[in-house]
C-alpha cells in the first residue's frame, strides 16, 4: 500500500495527464465512430453539433428544458428538469472539476495550443490581479444567459430565435465539428437580427479562442458557464482538493504553476477546501508543492494524490 502510494505521489503528472486527455479527446470528439453514446448530460463541452461526439454537453438539454412554456414547466415537465440535473450531477460527482482539467475536449484543445506556444519558445501572458477579478465574473454572466434566457422564452418575453442562445455564441459549437472536417458552423445566420448577432459573436469568440488560448493558458475556461455551474455543486463531489494550511509556507510554487492564476491556492492558509470557481482540478499545484501533504487530492477521505518532497524533486528534475 505504502509503495503504491509512493509511486502515485512520485508520478510525472504532466505525462499521465497528457495520456488521459488524449484518450478523452478521442472519445468525446470521435467516439461516434465507435458507436459510443454517453447521453446528453455530460458536464463538459462535448458538442453534439459535431455528429461524432460520444455524448452531449448538458447545457443543451438544460436550455431546451427551461425554455418550455411556463405552465408546462411548472407542471409535469419540471420533473424532467430535475431528472436532467440529476443526470448531470451523476457524472459530475465522480470527477468534480476534474472534468475540466482531464476530460473536456475543449480544455484539452487549449492545452495543446499551450504546448504549441511552448515549443515555439514564446512565453505565456497573464492577467493582472484587477483584470483577473473582473474577468472571473464573466462566466456567471454566461450562466445567467444559459438559465434566464430560456425562462424568458417560456413566459413569452423572448421569441423563438433566442432558442439555445448560449449555444449560438459558444465557440465549441463552431470548433467541435471542425475537428471532424465539418466547417459548416463557421457561418453567420442572417435569418433574424438576433440570430445574426449571436452567431457573429460565436464566430468572434471562436477566433478569440484560438488567439487567446495561444497566448494565455486555458483562456476560455475563465469564461465558461459550465465551470460556473460546476462550482455550484462542487461541494457535493466525492473528489476534493484540500489544503493543510499549517504545512504551507506560502512560497507561491503552486501559484506559479497554476494555469488559472488562482491566488488563494498559495495565500489562503485557513480553508481546507481550496477548490475555487476558476479551478480546473488539473492538480498541477499538488505536483508543484514541496511540502509533505500540504496539498492533497482526496477521493472521499482517502488521499489519492498528495504533495511530497520526493515527488516534487522528481518532477522538477532535481537529480538524486
Amino acid at each position: 500500500m505504502q509503495k503504491i502510494k509512493k509511486i502515485i505521489n512520485n508520478m510525472n503528472l504532466q505525462k499521465v495527464r497528457f495520456v488521459i486527455q488524449l484518450f478523452s479527446f478521442i472519445l468525446f470528439v470521435y467516439g461516434g465512430y465507435f458507436a459510443i453514446d454517453l447521453g446528453s448530460k455530460l458536464p463538459i463541452f462535448a458538442c453534439p453539433y459535431n455528429g461524432e461526439a460520444a455524448g452531449a454537453c448538458y447545457l443543451i438539454p438544460f436550455q431546451h428544458q427551461l425554455s418550455m412554456p411556463a405552465q408546462i414547466l411548472l407542471g409535469g415537465a419540471g420533473i424532467a428538469v430535475i431528472t436532467g440535473l440529476l443526470g448531470f450531477l451523476f457524472w459530475f460527482i465522480f470527477l468534480n472539476k476534474g472534468w475540466c482539467g482531464y476530460v473536456c475536449p475543449f480544455g484539452t484543445l487549449q492545452d495543446w495550443l499551450t504546448y504549441l506556444r511552448k515549443s515555439m519558445g514564446i512565453r505565456y501572458s497573464t492577467y493582472s490581479q484587477s483584470q483577473f477579478e473582473k474577468l472571473s465574473k464573466v462566466k456567471y454572466i454566461f450562466l445567467v444567459i444559459v438559465i434566464l434566457f430560456p425562462l424568458l422564452m417560456g413566459v413569452g418575453l423572448l421569441g423563438g430565435e433566442w432558442s439555445a442562445a448560449f449555444c449560438q455564441m459558444c465557440p465549441a459549437r463552431i470548433i467541435s465539428p471542425t475537428l471532424n472536417g465539418d466547417f459548416s458552423q463557421w457561418t453567420i445566420d442572417f435569418s433574424t437580427k438576433t440570430a445574426m448577432v449571436l452567431t457573429t459573436l460565436g464566430i468572434l469568440f471562436s477566433g478569440l479562442f484560438f488567439v487567446g488560448s495561444f497566448v494565455k493558458k486555458r483562456f476560455f475556461c475563465f469564461f465558461c458557464p459550465m465551470s460556473a455551474l460546476h462550482y455550484i455543486f462542487s461541494k457535493f463531489s466525492i473528489v476534493q482538493l484540500r489544503k493543510e494550511g499549517s504545512k504551507c509556507t506560502r512560497c507561491g510554487d503552486c501559484y506559479a504553476v497554476c494555469d488559472m492564476q488562482i491566488k488563494d491556492i498559495a495565500d489562503n492558509v485557513t480553508d481546507v477546501n481550496i477548490l475555487r470557481d476558476d479551478c480546473i482540478l488539473c492538480l498541477k499545484c499538488v505536483a508543484a508543492c514541496p511540502e509533505e501533504d500540504a496539498l492533497h487530492f482526496d477521493i472521499l477521505n482517502f488521499r489519492a494524490f498528495s504533495s511530497t518532497k520526493e515527488g516534487f524533486e522528481k518532477r522538477m528534475g532535481i537529480k538524486n
Binding site: T249, R250, D253, V257, D267, A288, E313, M316
Partner: protein, 422 residues
C-alpha cells in the same frame, strides 16, 4: 639572529579572528559526545578560511550579497560565485562599532567592520544589498565609503499584496540585467535551469539531513547543522554537496548503530531569532552544552536558506526568474515584514514535525526587528502551549554566566516536564 617585526593591524585582526574561529571549532570537536567523523571536512574548511585566510575562489567572479534575498541561482547561472557577507566575528564587530551607532545590531556592525578592515580571503568584486532591514539598508552607503561598489536591490516590506509580488519580480529582472552587464555574459535558459537544479539538489540534501533530526534518536547536533548550512555562505557548491553527502552517509550508519548526540531525556529545542553566524555560536553551543539538542531552527543562516524550493511551470528564462523571485519573497519569514503570521506558523509547524519540547528565541541586542517581533511570537507560543525562552545577546565573549543560568534553568524545566510525562 631572529628577525623581529611589528605586527600590522591587519595581521593583528587576522590573529584575533583566528583565535575566535579556532575556539569555536575546538569546542565543537572536543566538547560534544559522539562527534561525526565526516564533519571534520567542514571544520577544516572553516580553519582554512578563517584561521589560514585561504582563498577558495581565486579565479572566479565573486558577487557579495548582504542578505539572503539575492538569488544564488542567478549568480551561479553566470558562472560567478555568491558570497554571503553576514558576519559573526567579534573582532569585526568592534571595528564596526566605531562606524555605526553604538546600539546597532552586532551582525551589521561586524559586516561593516569587515569591509572597513578590507581583510577578505575572498574579496567580492561588487556587492548587492537588498533593502531588507533598516540597518542593512543603510549599511550599504557606509560600505561604499570604503571603496566598494554596492548595488541596492529593491525589496518590499509587505509580502501579502500583489503589488509586492510584481515589484520584486521586476526587481529581480533588473538585478539580472545589472549582473549580466557587470559580468559581461548573457543569461541562457540552459544555464539558469542548471543553476536552479544545482541549488535544488543542495536543498534536497539539507532536507535529508533534517529527516534525521525528526527521529526519536537524534544523530546530528544542531551546532553541526549550523556549521554545514553556514558553510553554504562561502564554500564551493560542489565541494559543499560532496561533504554533505558524506555526512549523510555517516548518519545512515549511525542510525543503524544507534549512535546519538543526545540522551532520551534531553529536551528537543527549536531555535529561532537572529541568525547564528560563525564563529558566534554562543547561544546554540550553550544550549547543547546544557544537555539539550537543537532539532530544528527558523533562522536565515540555516532553515530559511534551504527550506523552500523553486517550482517552474515553463522552463524559459522569464518563467524561471519569476518563480525564483516569488520564492525569495513569498516564502521568506524574515521579521522585516509588516505582519508575520507565516513565521509563527512555521515555528509551530517545526515544533510539531520535529517533536520539540520548547523554543529558544534569541535576538541580538540592536537587531530591532527580532526584538520587536518577540512579543507576538511569545504570545502565539503561549496560546499554542509551547514553552519558550527569550534571550538577548551580542557578540561579546563575556556575558556567558547570566545567559547560561537562564538557558540551563529553561532546559532543566523542560527536562522535569519530560521526566514526569515518562
Amino acid at each position: 639572529m631572529t628577525k623581529h617585526s611589528i605586527e600590522t593591524p591587519k595581521e593583528k585582526q587576522n590573529r584575533h579572528k583566528a583565535m575566535e574561529a579556532i575556539n569555536t571549532i575546538n569546542t565543537m570537536k572536543d566538547e560534544f559526545k559522539n562527534p561525526i567523523a565526516a564533519m571534520d571536512a567542514f571544520y577544516e574548511l572553516y580553519e582554512d578560511v578563517y584561521c589560514k585566510q585561504k582563498a577558495l575562489h581565486e579565479d572566479a567572479i565573486k558577487v557579495g550579497t548582504m542578505c539572503i534575498q539575492i538569488p544564488s541561482e542567478i549568480i551561479y547561472a553566470f558562472d560567478a560565485v555568491p558570497i554571503r557577507l553576514c558576519n559573526g566575528f567579534y573582532t569585526d564587530d568592534e571595528i564596526g562599532s566605531d562606524l555605526l551607532p553604538q546600539k546597532a545590531c552586532p551582525l551589521v556592525k561586524a559586516t561593516v567592520g569587515h569591509f572597513a578592515s578590507g581583510n577578505f580571503s575572498d574579496k567580492p568584486h561588487f556587492v548587492y544589498s537588498p533593502t531588507t532591514c533598516d540597518q542593512k539598508t543603510k549599511a550599504g552607503a557606509t560600505i561604499e565609503g570604503f571603496g566598494y561598489e554596492v548595488i541596492d536591490v529593491d525589496f518590499p516590506r509587505m509580502k501579502e499584496s500583489e503589488i509586492s509580488r510584481e515589484y520584486f519580480r521586476q526587481s529581480i529582472k533588473e538585478f539580472t540585467v545589472d549582473l549580466s552587464r557587470r559580468i559581461g555574459k548573457k543569461l541562457t535558459r540552459k544555464r539558469l535551469k542548471n543553476a536552479v537544479h544545482k541549488i535544488g539538489y543542495a536543498q534536497s540534501l539539507y532536507h535529508k539531513l533534517c529527516e534525521y533530526r525528526k527521529k526519536e534518536h537524534v544523530t546530528i547536533s544542531g551546532n553541526d547543522m549550523f556549521f554545514i548550512t553556514n558553510a553554504f555562505f562561502f564554500d564551493k557548491i560542489d565541494s559543499w554537496t560532496e561533504k554533505t553527502q558524506r555526512v549523510l552517509e555517516e548518519l545512515k550508519q549511525r542510525e543503524k548503530e544507534n549512535i546519538t548526540v543526545a540522551a532520551k531525556v534531553s529536551p528537543r529545542i527549536v531555535y529561532t531569532g537572529s541568525p547564528p553566524i560563525f564563529p558566534n555560536y554562543k547561544i546554540p553551543m550553550l544550549i547543547e552544552q546544557s544537555d539539550a539538542v537543537i532539532v530544528a531552527d527558523e533562522t536565515c543562516s540555516s532553515n530559511r536558506m534551504f527550506n523552500d524550493m523553486v517550482a517552474v511551470d515553463e522552463w524559459n528564462i522569464y518563467g524561471m526568474l519569476d518563480s525564483i523571485a516569488d520564492k525569495y519573497l513569498k516564502a521568506c519569514t524574515c521579521p522585516i515584514f509588516t505582519k508575520n503570521d507565516d513565521r509563527i506558523r512555521r515555528i509551530i509547524d517545526l515544533v510539531k514535525t520535529y517533536s520539540a519540547d520548547g523554543v529558544i528565541y534569541q535576538a541580538f541586542a540592536g537587531c530591532t526587528v527580532y526584538e520587536l517581533e518577540q512579543r507576538s511570537v511569545l504570545e502565539a507560543m503561549e496560546k499554542a502551549g509551547i514553552p519558550i525562552l527569550y534571550l538577548e545577546s551580542d557578540y561579546s565573549p563575556s556575558q556567558g554566566g547570566q545567559l547560561s543560568t537562564r538557558v540551563e534553568a529553561f532546559i532543566e524545566s523542560l527536562k522535569m516536564k519530560k521526566r514526569k510525562q515518562g
